[in-house]
Symmetry: C2
Subunit: 124 residues, 2 copies
């Protein structure tokens, strides 16, 4: 299964970039691409994950799986983000054993959301 790694590229992470300077979010996105995107992971830039006070942030999700949002990231974490995303993609159900998660995925979780259920509509 291909999983999606959303990277917030508008995040300023408390900085005030000069005109023309890349935001911390864009730098994180670039560093993730430079780190090498593993098979089974699609990196998708997104404008704002609404975690602005905890930026930079990324979200990882896939159909039928728990979604996870991680924060307080910088481009220095790119390799760990990629490793964590690869582990999530490789786990048959997306549930990576706790000890196999990179430290940033253990300590910098902002939230997780259960798999999105298709709730049967009530009979009319």
């Amino acid at each position: 299964m291909t999983v999606t790694l959303h990277v917030c590229i508008t995040c300023r992470a408390g900085e005030t970039p000069s005109e023309g300077e890349a935001t911390p979010g864009k730098r994180l996105h670039g560093a993730i691409l430079d780190a090498g995107v593993p098979d089974g992971v699609a990196v998708v830039p997104v404008e704002c994950l609404s975690a602005c006070s905890q930026g930079c942030s990324v979200a990882i999700s896939a159909p039928g799986r728990w979604s996870y949002v991680y924060g307080r990231l910088s481009e220095a974490h790119a390799n760990d983000v990629v490793a964590g995303a690869a582990a999530y993609a490789a786990a048959p159900d997306g549930l990576v054993p706790w000890r196999s998660r990179p430290e940033i995925f253990r300590k910098q979780s902002l939230a997780r959301i259960p798999p999105i259920a298709v709730v049967p509509e009530a009979a009319e």
Copy 2:
């Protein structure tokens, strides 16, 4: 479309409940049920949304829509949570105009996650 409102029932929100005492998360869940669950919203208890430092928390999601996680909630917010969930359910695409969201949904967002895309697998 029926949307899902997940409520973290294990959240202690910094409290240390006595034995047998309901956690703040369970109290929030109960208050939401008491507030009256609107049509189109399924309230589902969940053990941990991994937003423990920002509890209590809820997540709202539906297939093909942005998911949202809100935190720093208590049972006093139950009516607002229900109102916000109803607005999300009623909006054709789940995108509720900013001013129509309850204040807690404007100010206590922990994160949002884009709709989960089904990424086509590469040809073998």
